[in-house]
Symmetry: C2
C-alpha cells in the first residue's frame, strides 16, 4: 500500500550504472530494478519484455536487447545459451554451475564449490582456460 514510496534501490542502481559509465536512464533503471533487486535470475529478453509490459513500463524490445548486452559487456550479467537458441542472462556473475531442465528451460544455480572439478585436462597449445561450465541436464 506504500507504492508511492520511491524504490529504495533506485539510487543504488543509479550509482551502479554510473560506475560503468552508463547513463541512468528510465529504461535502464527499470531493467536494473527487475534484475538486481531480488534473488539471482535467469531471464531472456522476451521474458523481460513481458515483465516490463505487465508493469506498465513502456520500452522497446530493441532497448531491452541493447541494455542486456551492455550489462553483459560491463560484467553485470552473464550470457548462457541452451538447447533452444535463446540467449539467457544470468544475474549471478560469480563462477558457478547449473542444473538445466530441458522441459521448462529453467536453470538452477549450483554454487561453484558444490562441484569438485579436479584433474582438468590441460588446455590445448596456445590456449588458456577461461572458465569451466558444468551443466547438469535434468530429466
Amino acid at each position: 500500500m506504500l507504492d508511492q514510496k520511491p524504490n529504495k534501490t533506485e539510487d543504488q542502481h543509479t550509482d551502479l550504472l554510473r560506475q560503468f559509465h552508463l547513463r541512468p536512464t528510465r529504461q535502464r533503471l527499470a531493467l536494473a530494478d527487475l534484475l538486481f533487486n531480488g534473488p539471482c535470475r535467469h531471464v531472456s529478453a522476451e521474458q523481460l519484455r513481458l515483465e516490463t509490459k505487465n508493469k506498465g513500463i513502456n520500452m522497446s524490445l530493441a532497448t531491452i536487447y541493447n541494455t542486456l548486452n551492455q550489462f553483459t559487456k560491463v560484467g553485470l550479467l552473464h550470457e548462457i545459451n541452451l538447447d533452444n537458441n535463446v540467449t539467457y542472462f544470468d544475474t549471478n556473475t560469480d563462477h558457478h554451475h547449473h542444473f538445466f531442465d530441458p522441459k521448462t528451460n529453467k536453470l538452477i544455480d549450483i554454487p561453484r564449490d558444490a562441484i569438485s572439478l579436479n584433474a582438468l585436462p590441460d588446455a590445448p597449445d596456445g590456449h588458456d582456460v577461461e572458465r569451466v561450465d558444468v551443466i547438469i541436464r535434468l530429466s
Copy 2:
C-alpha cells in the same frame, strides 16, 4: 585414383539407416558419408551445406536440417548449442566433454574419464540427472 570403386561404407550406412527405420535415400547416405566415416566431428547445417555443394551433391538446406534432426532423434548425433545461437551436431554420442574456443567456435572432445566429477549435488526433487556436460571455455 580408384574413385570408381563404390564407397566401401555405403552398404554399412544403408544398414545403419534401416536399423533406425530411415530409408537410405541418396541424401541421407551422402550426409552419413560426411558424418560417420572419418573421425568424430562437430558440424553445423551450414557447414554440411557447403561440403555437399563442394562435392557436387545436390540437396536442399531443409533436407540437411531434416536429416540432422532425424539423426539426432534416433541417437546418431548429439546437439550442442554455444554462444552464437547456431546448432552444432556432434558425431560422438558417447558421454564426453568439450573444450570450446569462442574465437573460432571450434569444439574439441574431452574423453569422459579425463575429468573426474565426483560429489555432484543431488538433482532437485522430482528430477533425475540425465547428463553432465562440462564445457571448458578457452581464451
